[in-house]
């Protein structure tokens, strides 16, 4: 009996919706939450001529042969085992690091040995942003002039030719919880005052020229198909720089968008080079008429495109998973 294996987080809403669709097609699934792989009774046995993978949950188990496709929605960062008995902080940190790497390797053993159709293999879950921009540029995409640096002189030089700058994380914007308040990582304007206050060498950052937007575009890509949404963040000061700074009382207009054929073709090429079969891509449609590529996120939220545009992407993902036999 075939089944679809799903890696996700506990209670993740879009996972539940896809599962409802799988269910409506009477498709079996096996869901693993929050990197539970090492918390469940699991094993990999390598013989001379065979491998057997054991996964078990709530007294049901699944055989490797029965898995028809794997959906890697997201997973939680690993937590180290309880090391409260160890007093020496240095030793504790070393052991923590060691165990985290071991757990990661244990999980990846399953990921690598499950030679199935994956909706994004976890080895592709992080793609370096400067590398993405470079690859996109080679395919003919416009990208905002970008500098990645830790050197004030380089930054000052760049500012001379690109006076309006914004700053982002090199890897990804994440948030922090400080005193129970969540501080999200956003794109911000890099003012002259901020630059002046920097030491001659600083923590690395990614700096880009601020592009004058007509609107932003978020595209969900799955296996060759693009489902796009325009975001009119420009209408609103609060979101003009970064639409993730939602304005909840008067949300940005989000409407279905149809990309020019040439852009769709470039996206298909880019995803093929990056070996991704799904992902969320961000673009700016600039006042100058150009489409600027910003980034691709392999495990991007598709709900935020699916719902406002009535695309039923949850159903499409379920159908894709079922088709892989």
């Amino acid at each position: 009996m075939g089944a679809i294996l799903i890696f996700s987080k506990m209670g993740e809403a879009s996972t539940c919706e896809v599962i409802d669709w799988l269910d409506s097609y009477q498709t079996h699934f096996f869901r693993i939450n929050d990197g539970e792989i090492h918390k469940l009774p699991t094993s990999i046995q390598l013989g001379n001529d065979h491998i057997s993978l054991g996964l078990e949950k709530n007294n049901t188990s699944i055989n490797e042969e029965d898995i028809t496709a794997v959906w890697f929605r997201k997973t939680k960062t690993q937590e180290p085992p309880n090391l409260n008995g160890i007093e020496d902080l240095q030793i504790k940190r070393d052991i923590e690091n060691h165990t985290l790497h071991e757990l990661e390797a244990y999980n990846f053993a399953f990921y690598h040995l499950l030679e199935k159709k994956w909706l994004n293999h976890p080895s592709k879950k992080e793609i370096n942003k400067p590398y993405q921009l470079h690859t996109a540029q080679k395919l003919g995409f416009k990208v905002p002039p970008t500098l990645v640096t830790n050197d004030k002189n380089k930054l000052l030089d760049f500012k001379k030719t690109h006076p309006n700058l914004i700053v982002k994380a090199v890897f990804r914007s994440r948030g922090f919880v400080i005193d129970k308040v969540f501080y999200a990582g956003f794109t911000a304007v890099l003012t002259t005052e901020i630059i002046d206050s920097l030491p001659s060498s600083f923590f690395p950052m990614l700096v880009q020229e601020k592009i004058d937007k007509e609107y932003e575009i978020r595209t969900f890509y799955i296996d060759g198909e693009c489902h796009s949404m325009a975001i009119f963040s420009q209408l609103d000061q609060q979101t003009a720089l970064d639409y993730r700074r939602y304005n909840r009382t008067n949300p940005n207009r989000t409407v279905p968008y149809s990309l020019p054929k040439q852009i769709t073709e470039r996206i298909q090429k880019l995803m093929a080079i990056l070996e991704l079969n799904s992902g969320s891509l961000d673009f700016i449609r600039a006042k100058d008429g150009n489409y600027y590529f910003l980034e691709v996120n392999p495990n991007g939220q598709f709900g935020m495109v699916s719902k406002p545009c009535n695309y039923y992407l949850e159903k499409k993902i379920a159908a894709w998973l079922i088709q892989q036999k």
Binding site: D20, R253, P256
Partner: protein, 354 residues
């Protein structure tokens, strides 16, 4: 800057609906609507395929000033925008679909009811039901409600709405305790209460708790059509295109255990003691009313509210005609008036027309 762009478009989630004497634009993103004259509706239709200059010319430039004014207003309030590339902005699909056989259910009960809640929970889960409304017409002490709701704690239900008579046992701390224990509760209505008020709980919760003085001692209190019940949102609007906005994918159990489309409807498909929900659902004619949409209903089909209004097929003007207008609606789309003894005040509940 605006002058440079030739086309005006409403945002795809702002959809105009024409009525007999006026129209509305439904803003399905910001969940509101506004009135517009039918002439503007026609102009907006033409603007879908023609530039503003072409449309103005089609009216022999007689309405230029009015058109400019309206489009200016719609631009400023972010209902529409200007572009030279109308093809990049397709209409939103009006498809409605849902993975579950049943999306919502009602269970009525009174002092004589003998429902098997465990069985109900199992069967609703099998059908994929997401929303449950429980209405009780006689007092339920907290311990009893807790033991009923415990059956639903591990179910697939996402939303639970409960209507019950107020009694002294329901102190604020009892209510808080209930809402805390059962986070699926999104609304709790105590009828027969000493006063009308919103009950503030001392915890953070998404559940709204209302006290109302009105006595709801039987199912006949349902079916009222009023602007406060309008739902200008994408899922309601799309479902309304080809389905009944009350009965589609609904199943109900009345206080006697009869399985029905809605407790107020006469037809029973069997008693839950003898037949499962799934078997009742599979009986011929159970789903007949699901696809009765507003475009088929007398009067409603000419009403500008038809895709945001919740229908009622239990109380209708002519019980012999299943396509007749809901009895508890006092709106006349031909005169654009809320009539007779209805106390509705449109201005209070809806955005002003311009």
């Amino acid at each position: 800057m605006l002058e440079q762009k030739k086309h005006f478009q409403l945002f795809a989630n702002c959809i105009p609906v024409k009525g007999a004497s006026r129209s509305i634009i439904c803003d399905l993103q910001r969940n509101t609507y506004r009135f517009i004259p039918n002439l503007l509706y026609d102009i907006l239709q033409k603007l879908q395929t023609h530039s503003v200059a072409e449309v103005k010319a089609a009216y022999h430039n007689e309405y230029d000033q009015g058109i400019d004014q309206y489009l200016g207003l719609l631009t400023k309030s972010e209902w529409g925008f200007w572009t030279n590339e109308p093809n990049r902005f397709p209409d939103i699909s009006l498809e409605w679909n849902h993975p579950a056989l049943i999306t919502n259910a009602i269970i009525d009960s009174d002092a004589h009811s003998t429902h098997d809640y465990q069985k109900i929970q199992k069967e609703l889960d099998l059908l994929g039901c997401k929303a449950l409304e429980m209405r009780t017409y006689s007092p339920v002490p907290p311990t009893q409600l807790h033991s009923i709701l415990r059956y639903f704690q591990l179910s697939r239900l996402q939303h639970l709405t409960i209507t019950l008579p107020f009694s002294d046992e329901w102190s604020v701390s009892e209510i808080t305790n209930l809402v805390n224990q059962f986070p699926r509760i999104i609304q709790l209505i105590f009828h027969s209460a000493p006063e009308d008020k919103v009950c503030k709980l001392p915890i953070e919760t998404h559940a709204s708790v209302l006290f109302i003085q009105k006595v709801i001692d039987n199912k006949h209190h349902c079916g009222i059509v009023h602007p406060i019940y309008f739902s200008p949102n994408l899922s309601h609007f799309t479902e309304a295109q080809s389905n009944n906005t009350c009965l589609n994918r609904k199943i109900s159990i009345d206080e006697k255990g009869n399985i029905k489309n809605c407790p107020s409807m006469p037809k029973s498909y069997g008693n839950h003691k003898e037949i499962s929900l799934l078997n009742a659902l599979q009986k011929t004619s159970f789903k007949d009313s699901w696809q009765i949409n507003k475009d088929q209903i007398d009067t409603c089909k000419d009403c500008e509210f038809r895709y945001i209004c919740t229908d009622c097929r239990a109380y209708i003007q002519n019980p012999q005609n299943i396509f007749s207008k809901p009895k508890k609606c006092h709106y006349n789309p031909y005169s654009a008036q809320w009539e007779s003894n209805s106390k509705e005040n449109l201005q209070k509940n809806t955005p002003p027309s311009n």
